[in-house]
Subunit: 408 residues, 2 copies
DNA sequence: GACTTAAGTCAAGTCAATTGACTTAATAAG
DNA sequence: CTTATTAAGTCAATTGACTTGACTTAAGTC
């Protein structure tokens, strides 16, 4: 061969790609609008009635949609709306956090069916892999006990853990997170479960959750500011999660706050639960910390209010920055902070700084509160395989790497 | 009707979408890899030989590709590579700058064939629209004189001008830019020329140019820092220009530099040619300013070096920030600064701040110099219709709004 | 009670990718 | 020098999935 480098090109597509896309478009339309008739779907997707009819028949056979009561809405034959069947598909989500791992099972519409939690050992993945595999298979078994066809309808396993990925750390890895980041987790879990495995960072998972069932539902452009032990941004751009070249898109925790600052203060250093724990001089590894800060926020503990004031100033600027850079429809504050804290933090961020988002004729608020639930990252992890299997996306149309070009 | 809101759904697709995508994929492969044989194309795109053969035949009939000399590369029948025909398509790009407007004609491979320039009147679009229409039609006529089939092969008119769009300004509109931004330019130009018209901001246009023929050629993720009269970022994400919800994505000039700063200093205030003009106390509207600062940079004028030092500090942080947020493959410094200035500015930005981009095994530099040419924005404007017509993209597969769903 | 409107089906048609056999033309082996 | 092997590319038939247009069903409306 004369050509030493591989040829760079996108994949082509064929009838299967067309069909897969149209199926996904219809599923998404039902997710976004609720039950719709074949005629409505045809108009909305610009497909012909006949095509929609065929796809709906197929989806019904596959158990993904069911007809509802017919609706008489004027002249003409009454229409039969079809709705998504929640039990049409399932996914498992796994969160690996600093001292705990959580797994959830969700259905096609994003309802959390099962939760499970376990402590992670202090030696990281060495023994921790066993723990997470057991957690996942426990959830899987309970899911199958709930719905006997769940095994066949399980579309994948999503994993979420703190990023960044592929970077040499700062030697301060008290939680063994770096060891987890370097561990071949996707391969190990895929081999151990036989499922397709996807990996996201915490913030991306939160954004994925907000996109499936939360404040970003149906939005094309949204930024989720995830405030957890660290801080990150989950980016929904063109209706898809944006991950960057190496899966580290949105890892804004490491962003330094100022061009001049000789101390090189990062955003994470000032606005994250880690910074709150430090400010309060409490051990983040102690049990009940999460509930404790929730209660103290509720009680408006002055030291918490201090931190809120300072974190809010930095986050206000963070909102300004992501609005300026991304021009999103909305910014969502979400993630792992207890709700009383998140709510007060959000209130303290008002008034927001002026920005490009401050435009006439807005319908969505510039900043809104998303999920504040310790389980939202695991939910987002589970939402990823659902989206991968059912959301319309460019990559779903293209011929996959596995499919060889034949023809001679 | 019972349903007051329109139904939200993506468009479906059909055979035409498939076919259009495959054509685009093949054109892109030829653009990225140079001439390729049908067999190579089939392997790279995962299409069958037969399909590729049909598409190549069609593209050859359409005058978009030509066969090259056959190549004997070992056993088997020699292959016939096909190459893009530069004259297969043309586009016109129009830049509207503060006191000048520029138009270029480019061909399918992004070669600039013609340039034209005119001063803009001080009253903005009121009389300026006439000027830009004349400029465009002048270029169009010269293009048709060069290539008689150019009229039929003209795929569109791209326009670039400073953003942001749709925002109420800061009452300091000495250049009438706000008047231009509010003017229905796209509609007026479409009506006046009969061409499809697209609009981008300066930074986006520069990124579009870098993507077609520059440092971002073939990259999936790149951020172009555009330093012109203002400053902005052109974002290439997933191989496409990202524009945000309102076309203002990347408008980082208005980003405030610090959470605390009571003076609310914006990046544009510190790192842009406007700030340089102010620093040098020269009138940016005077003729020959551009060449003048180029010469002074070349001569290492101490006042220029002052500015370079301070702007470099801010830009260094800007690079850190976009790396942290986007995780791109590379950052490209490009745009409207004279090359001697841009080159020194880039040198002064080293060493870059540590960031997530500082990873082992990089092949591309973290920061590289892109086009520094006063015509690069106009080139990017022209590159936009070329990309719209020929690049593989999700939206090109979907049924267009014009196409009504029929079928009964 | 006849007409209009809209949902949805039927069956044939069309488009574009696929398949598998075949042709062409080179190098390698004996 | 002949034969085998390999690879590019074509031919003709097939397949899959959307489209078309006529038709059926079931409400309103006049």
């Amino acid at each position: 061969m004369n050509r030493p480098q591989p040829i760079r090109a996108k994949s082509g597509t064929n009838h299967e790609g067309t069909s897969a896309h149209n199926r996904r478009v219809i599923i998404e339309a039902l997710r976004l609008n609720g039950a719709l008739s074949r005629a409505d779907l045809a108009r909305a997707t610009r497909l012909t009635k006949q095509t929609v009819s065929n796809i709906i028949d197929e989806l019904e056979r596959d158990g993904l949609v069911v007809p509802q009561e017919t609706v008489k809405k004027g002249r003409g034959q009454p229409s039969t709306p079809y709705a998504l069947v929640p039990g049409g598909a399932f996914a498992i989500g796994l969160q690996i956090d600093r001292h705990v791992t959580r797994a959830v099972a969700v259905d096609l519409v994003g309802t959390v069916l099962l939760r499970a939690e376990a402590d992670l050992p202090a030696d990281g993945p060495a023994t921790g892999v066993r723990v997470v595999l057991d957690l996942v298979s426990g959830v899987r078994e309970r899911l199958i006990a709930m719905a006997s066809d769940a095994e066949a309808r399980l579309v994948g396993l999503g994993v979420a853990m703190p990023g960044p990925f592929g970077i040499d750390g700062d030697d301060n890895d008290q939680w063994m997170m770096e060891a987890w980041q370097k561990f071949p987790l996707v391969e190990t879990l895929a081999a151990g479960t036989g499922l397709e495995v996807g990996l996201q960072n915490d913030a991306a998972a939160c954004a994925t959750a907000e996109r499936l069932v939360g404040a970003a539902h149906g939005l094309e452009h949204a930024v989720c500011l995830y405030l957890g032990y660290g801080i990150g941004a989950g980016l929904i751009l063109n209706s898809e999660l944006y991950s960057g070249a190496n899966g580290n898109g949105g890892e804004i925790g490491m962003a330094l706050l100022s061009p001049q600052d000789p101390k090189r203060t990062s955003l994470e250093h000032r606005a994250s639960l880690a910074s709150l724990y430090q400010h309060l001089e409490i051990d983040p590894a102690a049990h009940g910390v999460y509930d404790d800060i929730g209660r103290r926020a509720e009680a408006e503990d002055p030291r918490i209010l201090d931190w809120i004031g300072s974190a809010a100033a930095d986050l206000r600027w963070g909102v300004h920055l992501v609005e300026t850079i991304f021009d999103p429809q909305t910014v969502i504050l979400c993630g792992g902070a207890p709700e009383p804290l998140a709510r007060r933090l959000m209130a303290a961020m008002e008034p927001l700084m002026p920005s490009i988002a401050d435009r006439p004729g807005r319908t969505l608020p510039r900043l809104q509160l998303g999920m504040t639930d310790p389980w939202s990252v695991a939910l987002g992890a589970a939402a990823e395989p659902i989206g991968r299997a059912f959301d319309p996306r460019f990559s779903a149309i293209l011929k996959a790497a596995g499919e060889e070009a034949a023809g001679g």
